[in-house]
């Protein structure tokens, strides 16, 4: 990735001596991120409670949590590890469908919904992490855009295979077939039917479960970022050769980040699936992967809480724009392009920051003047 970085002037010795600078930055980031989650949850619950938030938007509560967690987990790969991934929806799909199967199998044994939900989410995470390991080992040696296209290919392969998978449950246990319908005994149920996808899912997902998913994802990612592991990953991202030369095992660290990110995506997928009664594989196509990447990029690559806010806003935005009906996706596209140009173009960027500085300095001067006036 041809990332150009401005050469920063060396930090003053005083700053270098303050060993706690990094730690306090981390604490600040963690504080902001956790606060956003909890306050956002509280506000939405309150809004729903007093009837301020309509029924349509309430249906989006679980997807918002899921997309927020996906944005956090993709940030681990794109922001912290510096690799472009275009197949996050693939891992989400793996988690979603394995979660559904487990939840369905447990229905006979566990009657408490939330326990079943948690077990299925853990199982979804494990299977998705295994998928991440399987694809990660061979491909993580590839660089930049080549890695991106392979993750894209992986996402498409997963969706294609889901299209020909058939699962059913009857007295003899779980039945499975590839590319054809299964003959099941009388007292049986189909779980996954090829391109139609999963049907008859128990809708056990709740907003609170979504909050816990997002908190858990955030906890894992922030801790990795602030660990020895995370610093090694970021060192490799900033300069691979320098990182390698001081003995960092590039492949191992990148693989860890990739697998953890895949597992977290699978967990989110399992929750997402159990928010709907039916779920088709088409839901996890390339566009979904791109959507998650857009959250990460719009929020500022590597900025975890920025990605969270972008995810929440962009999930609500299409609902809010519903009155524009036909034009809403067109507006969305135009807004996306304009935001990208404004935030990335060097001329506009410096121009904007100069203006903001001017305004803030004026405010400061005014404050001083008023203070003097008061005195």
């Amino acid at each position: 990735m041809g990332r150009k970085r401005k050469i920063k002037p060396p930090a003053s010795p005083k700053k270098l001596l303050q060993g706690a600078v990094k730690g306090s930055e981390y604490k600040k980031e963690a504080f902001i991120a956790y606060t956003i989650l909890i306050v956002g949850y509280g506000l939405l619950q309150l809004g729903a409670g007093i009837g301020l938030i309509g029924h349509n938007l309430q249906g989006q509560f679980v997807p918002i949590c899921v997309y927020v967690s996906l944005a956090i987990s993709l940030n681990l790969v794109v922001g912290i590890s510096g690799e472009l991934s275009l197949g996050h929806a693939g891992f989400m799909a793996v988690g979603a469908f394995s979660g559904i199967i487990v939840a369905r199998m447990l229905e006979a044994y566990i009657s408490i919904d939330s326990v079943r939900l948690v077990i299925s989410m853990i199982f979804g995470a494990i299977i998705a992490a295994l998928a991440g390991l399987l694809i990660g080992i061979p491909i993580l040696g590839l660089r930049g855009d080549y890695l991106a296209i392979v993750t894209l290919a992986f996402g498409e392969i997963v969706r294609n295979i889901m299209n020909v998978l058939y699962f059913g449950l009857d007295d003899s246990g779980l039945r499975f077939a590839f590319n054809r319908m299964i003959d099941l005994e009388d007292n049986s149920q189909r779980i996954i039917t090829g391109a139609i996808g999963a049907t008859g899912i128990q809708q056990t997902a709740t907003f609170t479960a979504g909050l816990f998913l997002a908190l858990f994802t955030l906890f894992i990612v922030l801790n990795i970022k602030n660990s020895k592991h995370g610093r090694a990953i970021m060192a490799v991202r900033d300069n691979r050769i320098a990182g390698e030369s001081i003995g960092i095992d590039v492949k191992k660290y990148k693989l860890t980040a990739f697998v953890i990110s895949a597992g977290l995506a699978g967990m989110a997928g399992a929750l997402f699936a159990q928010n709907y009664s039916t779920l088709a594989p088409i839901k996890f196509n390339f566009n979904t992967s791109v959507l998650i990447l857009v959250f990460v990029v719009l929020g500022g690559i590597g900025n975890i809480w920025g990605g969270m806010i972008a995810a929440a806003l962009l999930t609500i935005l299409p609902e809010a724009l519903r009155q524009f009906a036909d034009y809403r996706m067109l507006t969305y596209a135009i807004v996306l392009v304009i935001v990208m140009i404004v935030t990335y173009n060097p001329t506009i960027k410096t121009n904007m920051s100069m203006r903001i500085e001017k305004v803030t300095s004026r405010i400061k001067i005014k404050k001083k003047q008023t203070e003097k006036g008061v005195a």
């Binding site: 491909i139 080549y146 020909v164 596209a333 392009v337 990208m340 173009n345």
Partner: protein, 294 residues
């Protein structure tokens, strides 16, 4: 004989992928960006050609020229408005912008032409298929002309890039942007020219593709776009002969796996081939290995 028939239709599909892949690979070579909107330029080209024959009553070849002109203008405009402000700021920003442009084109087409699929009238109406070996080997006019057009484009493009001044300038810019500028090459013009050629070729590919598979929807370009992009990567992105070979290989694999393995899994097989190729040759078949210096 059926395997030869499959091979020929594979070659024909592969030729379409190759023409699209040329657009991807040239743009990547010169500006190091993944132009995800390219697939949608194909769709716009097909719609323009469809409208010119349907509502204006132009003959097929004239409509094709019209579609090429429209796509050329579209490609250059997209580059000017959306991509140029972000040049040199890293690949991720431009990638998202390209995706935004892709959404824009798809939704604009949805508003203009509606979601209902239109039936595209083939460019080669009234031409009989070629029958060989007691009519056991049938080559449709679409397949025949697609392969011919692909070969012509390939030869013309290679000559253009190697023999003309503008082509040499394009190669210089893709080799080293800054040095080319110092040598007095107008970089902006070269990049605009690349986008113009790539988009014009996209219109040709769109019309040929819709002649063979005559269903036209706002999402028609998306999947062929991704597959052609895959083809460009298989061949080594940035390399013109690579795009050609990659496209042909992918087309043949797709048709053969559709015929002999499974229709639903053909896409998965194509993408699996990409992964295998990249594992063996990390920069694609014809890609250059750039060495990093410390």
């Amino acid at each position: 004989m059926s395997i030869i028939n499959s091979l020929i239709s594979g070659l024909s599909l592969g030729s379409v992928y190759a023409i699209i892949a040329l657009g991807y690979t040239m743009v990547y070579g010169i500006s190091r960006m993944l132009n995800f909107a390219h697939g949608d330029v194909i769709m716009i080209g097909s719609y323009v050609s469809f409208c010119l024959t349907m509502y204006v009553g132009m003959p097929g070849w004239l409509a094709l020229v019209g579609a090429m002109a429209a796509c050329t203008v579209l490609g250059v405009t997209i580059e000017r408005i959306a991509y140029r402000p972000l040049r040199g700021t890293g690949s991720l920003g431009v990638l998202i912008t390209a995706i935004g442009v892709s959404y824009f084109l798809q939704n604009a087409a949805l508003l203009i032409w509606g979601a209902n699929p239109r039936v595209f009238t083939t460019l080669f109406k009234g031409l009989d298929p070629i029958r060989l070996a007691n009519a056991r080997l049938v080559i449709t006019a679409e397949s025949f002309f697609t392969i011919i057009v692909c070969v012509v484009i390939m030869v013309a493009l290679t000559l253009f890039v190697h023999r003309t001044k503008a082509g040499k300038a394009m190669r210089a810019v893709s080799e080293d942007n800054g040095a080319a500028q110092l040598m007095g090459i107008n970089v902006n013009q070269s990049i605009s020219l690349t986008f113009a050629i790539g988009s014009g070729l996209a219109a040709v590919a769109g019309v040929l593709m819709c002649s063979a598979y005559p269903v036209l929807m706002p999402t028609t370009g998306a999947m062929p776009g991704i597959k052609a992009f895959t083809a460009a990567v298989v061949g080594g992105i940035g390399s013109i002969p690579g795009a050609m070979v990659g496209g042909l290989i992918l087309g043949i694999i797709e048709i053969l796996s559709r015929a002999y393995i499974s229709t639903e899994l053909s896409d998965a097989i194509v993408f699996a081939c990409l992964i295998i190729v990249l594992l063996v040759k990390p920069t694609g078949l014809f890609g250059k290995n750039t060495r990093e210096k410390v």
